[in-house]
């Protein structure tokens, strides 16, 4: 297993499959009376969150606690960061406290990468700017595999705000490694420069893509990142966005019988996904959250469970 998990591209097919297989075993724990394993007793995992997060932070916290690691939650709000402490000084402080792994979320792309130069422990990227969110890609792959039985050859449509989405980038890289075929669907204004070099097809037409898709992954419209709140420089209005790129009940019927609908959360109901679709049996949104705990347990075990490297 790798020392740091910064990008979904750090994982080759064998390692990624090992994470998914390990996660499948970890999932059995959720049905037990005692949801606890002694495996990481005495290890310390720090959740270092510079951005708001509900599911990722709690998911990492639950995963680490189920493996008996000690967990320190550190959020920028209410810490010395608000007094102006730099990322490096914060990292060195946590290092001095004996952190074996730092799970980091930061608004700047590349922050976890910088962190690896300053500390000895493992660094796990829990989302950096618009760059990557590898454990989200792993839990999405896990959910697809458990619903559809395989990943190789799957047609996956990733729809929406690709420009600001670290989830999209990590998913494209991981799904490509695991043999799935990805089509990105977005208005031209919400596609990043250089998307042509990604291992994915690009389409502007959601309806045409839906008919052949096994998986449709809807991305959140990231209002907080739409430059200076000027959403209308990317698309005219929520209604127009929803009409062209939103998934509603009518579009859901165009999907093949077996196809599933995913969303990394949090959702803007009525914009990229209608409430009816979000709550339908085709939607895996709640499963994705459960998968998140299993996948993060697998990652923590594989990175911290063994001896000195």
């Amino acid at each position: 297993m790798i020392r740091h998990l910064l990008s979904a591209a750090d994982l080759d097919a064998a390692t990624a499959t090992q994470v998914l297989d390990t996660a499948a075993e970890m999932a059995g724990l959720a049905d037990r009376e005692v949801k606890k394993l002694p495996t990481l007793r005495g290890r310390t995992v720090v959740n270092l969150f510079y951005e708001d997060s509900t599911r990722t932070r709690t998911s990492f916290e639950v995963a680490a606690k189920r493996l008996s690691a000690d967990v320190i939650n550190f959020s920028a709000k209410g810490s010395s960061v608000s007094k102006g402490e730099s990322l490096k000084d914060t990292a060195l402080t946590l290092q001095a406290m004996g952190a074996d792994a730092i799970v980091v979320r930061h608004q700047a792309s590349g922050a976890p990468h910088r962190l690896t130069r300053w500390i000895n422990g493992s660094v796990i990227n829990a989302g950096d700017g618009t760059h990557e969110h590898p454990t989200q890609a792993l839990l999405d792959a896990y959910t697809m595999r458990s619903r559809l039985g395989r990943l190789a050859g799957l047609q996956v449509a990733i729809v929406g705000d690709v420009l600001h989405s670290r989830v999209a980038r990590s998913n494209v890289l991981l799904l490509h490694t695991l043999g799935a075929k990805v089509t990105l669907v977005a208005p031209p204004t919400l596609l990043p420069v250089g998307v042509g070099s990604w291992p994915a097809d690009v389409s502007y037409d959601l309806d045409a893509t839906l008919t052949g898709a096994d998986v449709v992954m809807m991305l959140r419209v990231q209002r907080e990142r739409l430059s200076g709140g000027r959403q209308d420089s990317f698309f005219p209005s929520d209604r127009e966005y929803a009409r062209r790129y939103g998934l509603d009940a009518i579009r859901l019927r165009r999907l093949p019988e077996h196809a599933i609908v995913m969303h990394p959360g949090p959702m803007n109901r009525g914009v990229e996904i209608s409430a009816e679709v979000a709550d339908s049996t085709r939607s895996t949104i709640v499963e994705q959250v459960a998968a998140g705990v299993s996948v993060r347990m697998a990652v923590l075990y594989l990175m911290l469970g063994g001896g000195a490297r």
Partner: protein, 211 residues
């Protein structure tokens, strides 16, 4: 070390080399499993509330064979499961991360039942200790017993087996290799001269080394 290390291919093809000695043949293993099945029935007065839990890799096929024999003798199906103990081991930090195996407890669970742990080789006893910890997280058995195909001695913990296929006196530089048709294509128990490390180089004693 008394014998030079052999490459994996050599170890399999050389049959007359003094490096290994067959302890149990396929027929011996079959008779031994039959005997343990009878002993379980005798000692537990019919194994009415027994659950057999095999420890991967080779404990699981052994547990299934025991259950099949018990069923053949008394026409009673005994639930069989598999219990992976990797996450409870005390030596996780002594080497690289180990892959974890499958855990599958029979539908009836283990609460209030007699759990019989099944493994191929009993050595230091550390695997069994890990299994006892794992059981504690799965429920509360009425009692726990241990069945092994081979007891090679050198216990490091106060643990003993209730059912033993064969006691094999060994030295620490020898290794015991159990092969079963389900996992290795053939039934055989061999005693190898040489350390665990050289035996592991042949890719055959993964369970023995951890047993």
């Amino acid at each position: 070390m008394a014998y030079p290390r052999m490459a994996a291919a050599d170890a399999r093809t050389v049959t007359s080399a003094p490096a290994s000695k067959t302890i149990l043949t396929a027929t011996d293993i079959s008779r031994t499993v039959d005997r343990i099945a009878h002993q379980i029935l005798e000692k537990t007065e019919g194994a009415t509330d027994a659950v057999l839990l095999g420890i991967p890799t080779r404990g699981f096929p052994l547990a299934r064979r025991l259950a099949a024999r018990i069923e053949a003798f008394e026409s009673r199906a005994v639930p069989v499961g598999v219990l992976d103990v990797t996450l409870y081991r005390d030596d996780l930090r002594l080497r690289g991360t180990r892959a974890i195996g499958r855990t599958d407890v029979p539908a009836g669970g283990i609460d209030g039942r007699l759990v019989i742990l099944v493994d191929d080789v009993l050595f230091s006893g550390r695997t069994v200790r890990a299994a006892l910890d794992a059981l504690g997280d799965l429920g509360r058995p009425r009692a726990v017993q241990l069945a092994v195909l081979v007891d090679r001695g050198h216990r490091e913990l106060p643990i003993r087996a209730d059912y033993v296929g064969k006691n094999i006196p060994t030295s620490l530089i020898e290794s015991v290799r159990v092969r079963l048709a389900e996992t290795d294509g053939t039934d055989e128990v061999q005693l190898w001269a040489g350390t665990d490390a050289s035996a592991r180089a042949t890719g055959a004693t993964a369970t023995e080394a951890s047993a």
